[in-house]
Amino acid sequence: METGSAAGAETTGTEPVWTGLPPGLLRMRRLLLVVWLGLTALAVGLLLGLLAGPAWAAFALLPLAVLAWGWVLLGRNWRSWRYAERADDLLISRGVLWHEETVVPYGRMQLVEVTSGPVERHFGLASVQLHTAAAATDATIPGLEPAEAERLRDRLTELGEARSAGL
């Protein structure tokens, strides 16, 4: 069946239809980064400035540099995440420096899980995780909108049942 080619291949045939992650995840991660590193910078600056002298307060620039770097990094990481539902399998591609691309045939799925932690819930996000009989299968799609996560879960379960196979 012509279902497409993997990404990263300098492409022959039809490309799978890739879906990126919604911007909510990036917003959440960046906000968390700013809050934590901002607080760290403030704490370092205040403590060193008061205890060791104003010149030492310059160390507060360190967390700020990390913040700037992390800001860019998070953006790149977020852009690298994408998934594609093909006719018979799910493709997940992620990572910038350490790139990983996973194919999970629908028939091999044992369980589909939708999880949402307290922070994620606050931002209206949920992740979908696929489990196969192999523990090494690491197929998680983080930061989806709950509606999309549920649609994906239902679709995957349905397809998994239709194509189910044993071990």
Binding site: T3, S5, A9, W98, A165
Partner: protein, 442 residues
């Protein structure tokens, strides 16, 4: 999936005959308290001595009697409250005195059935029956059953798992087996002599203690290290010989039969279509003799050796029997030459071949390991690439199987890896269509 779990509403269906284990069973537990005391005495000899001098002989004997009685009672009660039953679709094991626990083991999901006989059990004429299902506990084994009963039960379980009607499952009996190969003891001994691990552990046991003596001059330190080292050396050489002695591999309609052991006898049965991966290992010193060791992975099973030692041609014919329709690929493609910048020297050990039936990846330069995964057993496929690999346009292809083993073809060209990922997903889907059903006789 195994559905072992706690179930308080047990419905004795009336038809299902529940059975107890062999009456010899309580005795294996009676010795537990004695073993605990002995263990404590050995662990801390000085304090044990001190305590002993304080006690009189009568107190000692009395205490021992109480402990043995308590142990026997415990053993008896656990035996009394353990039942098992074979129903149409499952094996049910009910245990527990205070906390009741019922394990329901689905027969069509059986991955392997083992009948083991430790030395003492052989003397008593009993055997242990263990059913491997994905996710089973150590508790889900039947210990002990009468020798004959264990064999009958195994035959019945396999017949039912194969899909024979419940009325006939009793009468089907042991499926006839025909022997594929047998490892002669001399060959096994020579193979162990030519194994690096045997000599490595022996050398460690002989070299480390004298050095420790020179460094510390303390008898206890030397003994504390020498004994485990000697133990490890013994298990690596004599222990392996004893457990792999008289290794017999037979084929029957119920699947593969693996029988082995000098003192403890083990009889394993792997039903058809349960093998997830097969590995052909060729240690350095065996290569001039063209000998190999074959290992296999079955989901939920601990055992992994299929053939401890055999000539390559024999091993390949065995693999062809185990994985139906698979021929071991002879020619493997090496990674491109530029891979030497990623893994100097050892890049030559890596290789990959994909045939219609299997994904075969080799690694290791001195000790060569060729792993075979039938396409039908692939759970997911991954391609990974790190920054250094990207520089050299190389990527790794991982194939995950249900036995929690991942077979990796390292250092492939990026475009090749991407093509492999695409094709492998396709192959695993079509491969599964032709796979045999769980109930292989149905």
């Amino acid at each position: 999936m195994s559905t072992s779990g706690v179930d308080d509403a047990i419905r004795p269906d009336g038809i299902v005959a529940e059975r107890r284990l062999h009456p010899v069973t309580p005795f294996r537990r009676a010795w537990a308290p004695v073993a605990v005391i002995t263990g404590w005495a050995v662990h801390d000899p000085n304090q044990a001595q001190e305590q002993l001098t304080r006690l009189t002989t009568t107190m000692l004997l009395g205490g021992l009697a109480v402990l043995v009685a308590a142990g026997s009672l415990y053993g008896f009660l656990t035996w009394w409250f353990t039942y098992f039953a074979v129903t149409e679709s499952e094996l049910r094991i009910r245990t527990g005195l205070l906390f009741r626990r019922t394990a329901h083991i689905r027969l069509e999901r059986i991955q392997a059935v083992d009948v083991t006989q430790p030395l003492l059990a052989r003397v008593a004429g009993v055997a242990k029956l263990r059913i491997d299902v994905v996710g089973t506990d150590k508790k889900d084994e039947l210990a002990f059953l009468g020798q004959g009963e264990a064999r009958r039960l195994r035959a019945e379980l396999l017949a039912r798992a194969a899909g024979f009607a419940p009325e006939t499952a009793h009468e089907v009996g042991e499926a006839p087996a025909h022997e594929l190969m047998r490892v002669p003891p001399a060959k096994l001994a020579l193979a162990l002599v030519l194994t690096g691990a045997t000599w490595g552990s022996l050398a460690a046991a002989l070299v480390v203690p004298p050095f420790l003596w020179l460094a510390t001059h303390s008898v206890w330190t030397v003994l504390a290290t020498a004994l485990p080292l000697l133990g490890a050396a013994a298990t690596a050489s004599v222990g392996r010989f004893v457990s792999e002695y008289d290794w017999t591999l037979a084929e029957s309609p119920d699947g593969l039969r693996i029988d082995h052991g000098l003192l403890d006898r083990t009889h394993e049965t792997v039903p058809p279509g349960r093998v997830q991966t097969v590995r052909i290992v060729a240690p350095l010193l065996w290569r001039p003799l063209r000998w190999v060791r074959v290992e296999l992975d079955v989901a939920g099973s601990e055992n992994s050796v299929l053939v401890p030692v055999a000539p390559r041609a024999v091993a390949e014919s065995v693999v062809a029997r185990v994985l139906a329709g698979v021929t071991v690929p002879g020619e493997l493609s090496r990674p491109p030459r530029r891979a030497r910048w990623c893994v100097p020297l050892w890049w030559r050990g890596h290789g990959l071949a994909v045939t219609d039936a299997v994904f075969a990846a080799r690694h290791g330069l001195l000790r060569r390991k060729l792993s075979l995964v039938p396409h039908a057993k692939v759970q997911s496929v991954r391609v990974t690439q790190g920054p250094w690999g990207r520089l050299w346009r190389l990527a790794d292809v991982h194939v995950d199987t249900g036995a929690n083993k991942t077979v990796t073809a390292r250092l492939r060209d990026v475009q090749e890896a991407a093509a492999l990922l695409r094709e492998q997903a396709e192959r695993s889907r079509t491969g599964r269509r032709s796979a045999r059903p769980d109930r292989w006789m149905a």
